[in-house]
Symmetry: D2
């Protein structure tokens, strides 16, 4: 079976829980590595008060012994430090539903979720729809990243736009994450970064929120991951699903997809040349590393377009779910701009999706098998 | 089981074949309806010579008796009229692989597909990766559309950009397809349409190709289809996967996703107001009908960004798969611009993906059950 | 999505963990109910020392608020009390693999698991392959049982054979579990029960183990669950997979399947008669409630054939995984006969499998919808 | 993705259709090989008149070029010669449902299927539930068998009982199928075979039907296929689902599962001994080649218990679906005993199920990769 996963948990519930299956035996799974990724998820100016409360640390509940994966399902938990503060407020275990959330936030799952599940209180919805739950995606993604490290595949991200401020293009290198993580908004363009910081502060001052764009880059991939043979095996679709399912993402672009829709074919496709040593080289990567639904050996480049988060200090016009009367939308504690950490979450989403495609292709009960099999795969470049 | 499907077939093989499962009993499945959709797939200026050869007609091989679905898998076939012309050329049944394709087209599956499967001839790749195979997607999509018609859900599309020519916004109405299909490039803005036609002709003259943008609109959907409860159930991700897996699509946008990444939250989220009759109204639909990974009762609006197709009369610089020498890419017979029909294909892809989500939610062995259950679902608007 | 689940955990690891998805909102999920099932899993003479150590109690980590399911994934944990005793012995968190298991037990996963995953120590295998992990199956199954209780569907089991001692047939009633649980070996036939007890004691005395047969009965099912339309939708196959995946089960029988293979058709098929009130009655249920891969309205009757467990006090002849030398198989702490509790585990396995099929058919975001939809389904009987 | 498949078709519809996906590139797929398996499905005394009408021949519609798989989905069709005789009778394409089937056959899908799908005519049910559709399982299974032949894995079957006549045990050899196919009832024990023939003739004379038991044997399997790590990965459960979903199978046994439930552990488990050359040998295979849900290197042995088919010349007591009145069950044209060919169908079912498990473990885009990877897997024996 390909690597797959499942998550559970609520924003102020006991724990976030996740299980990832079919990780071959012999992978080093280290709690500190996972914790480091959890810390990266908290990066970025514009995060709310919750970031001060939580010092996320993973517990590895199964599937790992003496720091090595055993081939059995790996269960992870991240406890919510804030749970104790909420246990009575929200009456997790009681009989009543305290602290109802009825002033549905436009742009949030509140209203549709309540209708779907027949609630007049959207608390059950907001607890699960909360971006808090992406912590488990990041934890599981860290396991997938360790799998890829064995194969020489690296996954990183950086902020390319916040609001109307755009970063200038940067050369992709393996150290993208190192540079990005050192910046307040995870932007590689220092001058743009300063403007982004200003934008976020301005938005915060006016009780507003901001979106933007993150770019995720996968390096070290060989050709032929994914497939054109059936629609659901196309890696572009698989990646779009993964990134498009990250909360707040409303558009996903592979390579220069949006720009390319405006150009002639002769200006779009990445021409190929013999490199003189029996391989193929290209001078461009407008395709973002994917052709015909497969990797082509160039870095995979994906852009995630985030809307501003829907919880505003200055509540928007809304309707109370219970009474049907006009109200201002609820002001739950929230961030101003999640784009910097959004990239980190998308890295995890891409890692998990790519792990499915790669493990599909390679199979493998042990990491030694996986590494040997991947080593033998050919690549154009 | 939710509605699901599988396709098979090659561009010049005997037949395209598809099976769609878990269509409830009692749905009217009419070959003429399916054929009408197959005809729509051929629409649009910029299509190549193949369109003159094929007069696609579906054969319903199973799952339908006396025009009604029986609850059993529905198998469809579309024969390739061009097969006879190719049978020896490509030696489908022979022992040799005639007519090898070695001058890999940049932007196409040729090179990576050949590497993946160990071919020195990309013919096996190009035959399956061909857009010809979307005919089966459209045929199966027509069955999904019939399912939705029963529920009052309509799916349509129109061209919003070809190359640098953009259409002005249009009001979404149920008759989008009727208007679009009557236009040469399936564009609702007549003046933009004329410019698009010029652009395509210009590209054709210079042996080049053109991409563009299609908008797909789903009307009549109630709230709560899809879910925030697990990442893979989010309808935005599901739709992005489906549309992003249509050949040539390199970006997918829900609602005004790209624009919204630049704006403040207060300018993005669709505020809600009591409509005075116990329901909720909104004056905007920037979310494209999806909030928290679920439908919110507004029309679903999705935009597909198509790259120009990679087969150019003036072959791009490339490398021969077999010899490794520099060559001009192969000029297989192809279209100049597939955006007009691309919208039709995306309609089918969305229909099939949405059918999975809706059948998941409703279950149902018979269409009568499905219709009754959907009728009872609540909606915000 | 249909109800589905995933489990993780090791026999002496921190916790057993499970996640069950797509339970509709509004189901009462009560820890005490789950604990009661966990207690039933410990029933039966012939259980080993572990039963004295563990007082299994479930922790509900997510998906439930104020005792009602929220529609989100439900995560459960059962902690291993014995973990602390083993944490150093097995070095879960250390760097070395202490207490290696190399004397592979014939009939156990030890040898093949070690070969599969490249281990020279089968500890990682025995920890996951341990029947201890069925505690999580039982916990998740208790949630599925609660779902079915809402629909008037009951699932029970009793012991029909231990070793060569067979119980006489009993009339199936709703109180099977009550009667069975009150018996030392969960057998309804008191005189057979006494002999079974003797058999188990005898086996224990000689350091041996015993298998037997459990019968699982599902009452209150309407017609038409499962389907003949695709092989993987046949409920008989689905149930056989579920029961056949319970450790130690080596054969699964639906109704009187084994006997029926010997008889003429006229003596096998359950004839149908009008009951005078517009329904159909049958005087026999040799089909075990399943015809054409579907329920037919009669109770589902399944028999699970358990081999004796493979850990014997008097170790069998074996080979050391590491040295390749002849050894006596390891004597890990274990039970003598698990048939009485095996039935309880099979109940859970059947509940989970049936929940998939039923939720497939009914869909439903809320339990109210599910109950209404099931209420409208027709039944032959 | 692991190898998977889907089928469609009706007993008297145009064609049976199947698609098998994820067959690696480079497998020889030969129509004559598939036809030979289709012919084997018709073997055996006791088959009905349909066998004279149909001379099943497969059409390969896609996924194969110049006799080699291309890596794309392989679509197969088997046309129903009898379709033309039925096209008006059953009005496939017309508006009316002629030739209704209302006298539901006990033991058949007729009644429950009609209730499920809301039909008052079970024709739609009987057409799909017909054993005729196993022809496509056999055709797809032949592709899976070709995949296994590359790996040195062989799948065969023979009849071990018909009615009360049991065959004496035979030594399993690679030539089981050759011997079995040469026998009238596919039985290796000549003297039992003669009695089985008598039994079938007797049943035919009295308008009755007969069941029996088939044994399926898989040779050449290495250790570690399947897994104990998650319930749905256990190969015993996977095989039971596959075999248990073959029409008429009501019990499935792995190895000596039923007998073993009666014995002491010391008499059940297959002891292991060093073979003196660094491998392990066993003198018994009571486990049927599966331990801990995995192959152990010994032949996989599975027994399928078939009930007598439910269509009897002397119709059983039944109820008319439409009128609710007592009737004799319909006498559709049918066989007397399908056990001999049932084994052939089970071979295909096992081949397809095992292909999923093996391709899972090995991955592989090409058969060369698959063969190399399998060659490196270790085995106990």
């Amino acid at each position: 079976m390909a690597i797959n996963f499942i998550t559970a948990g609520e924003s102020h519930g006991r724990s976030l829980v996740g299980i990832i299956e079919n990780i071959p035996a012999g992978l080093t799974v280290d709690a500190e590595r996972i914790n480091a990724e959890l810390k990266r998820r908290m990066l970025g100016l514009g995060r709310g008060a919750r970031m001060q409360i939580e010092d996320d640390r993973v517990e590895i509940l199964s599937g790992v012994r003496a720091r090595k994966s055993t081939g059995s399902p790996i269960a992870l938990a991240v406890n919510n430090a804030d749970h104790q503060n909420w246990i009575n407020a929200v009456s997790w275990d009681g009989d009543a539903n305290n602290r109802p959330l009825t002033a549905a936030r436009p742009g949030h799952a509140d209203l549709c979720g309540a209708i779907k599940f027949g609630f007049t209180d959207a608390r059950n919805v907001s607890e699960r729809a909360s971006a808090r739950n992406t912590a488990m995606t990041v934890a599981l993604g860290a396991v997938a990243k360790a799998y890829f490290e064995t194969l020489g595949i690296g996954i990183s991200s950086h902020t390319v736009a916040i609001g109307i401020v755009k970063a200038s293009p940067v050369k992709h290198t393996e150290s993208v994450n190192e540079l990005a993580d050192a910046d307040k908004v995870r932007c590689l363009d220092r001058s743009a970064s300063a403007k982004m910081v200003d934008e976020i502060r301005l938005a915060a001052l006016s009780g507003d929120t901001l979106g933007g764009v993150s770019e995720i880059i996968v390096t070290g991939v060989k050709s032929g991951i994914g497939s054109f043979t059936s629609v659901y095996k196309r890696l572009d679709g698989i990646i779009m699903a993964a990134v498009g399912s990250v909360p707040s993402v409303k558009a996903v672009e592979i390579g220069d997809g949006i720009e390319c829709a405006k150009l002639y074919g002769s200006a779009v496709h990445d021409e190929m040349f013999p490199d003189g040593e029996g391989r193929i080289k290209r001078n461009t990567n407008r395709a973002g590393g994917l052709e015909g639904g497969m990797t082509n050996g160039e870095p995979i480049v994906v852009r995630a377009y985030f809307k501003p988060i829907p919880t505003l200090k200055n509540g928007l016009d809304s309707v109370d779910i219970k009474t049907g009367k006009a109200v201002k939308a609820a002001d739950e504690r929230a961030d101003v701009c999640i784009v910097p950490s959004g990239g980190v979450i998308c890295e995890a989403a891409v890692a998990l999706a790519l792990a499915t495609a790669v493990s599909d292709m390679l199979g493998g009960d042990t990491m030694a098998e996986v590494a040997e099999r991947y080593g033998k795969k050919d690549s154009a470049v």
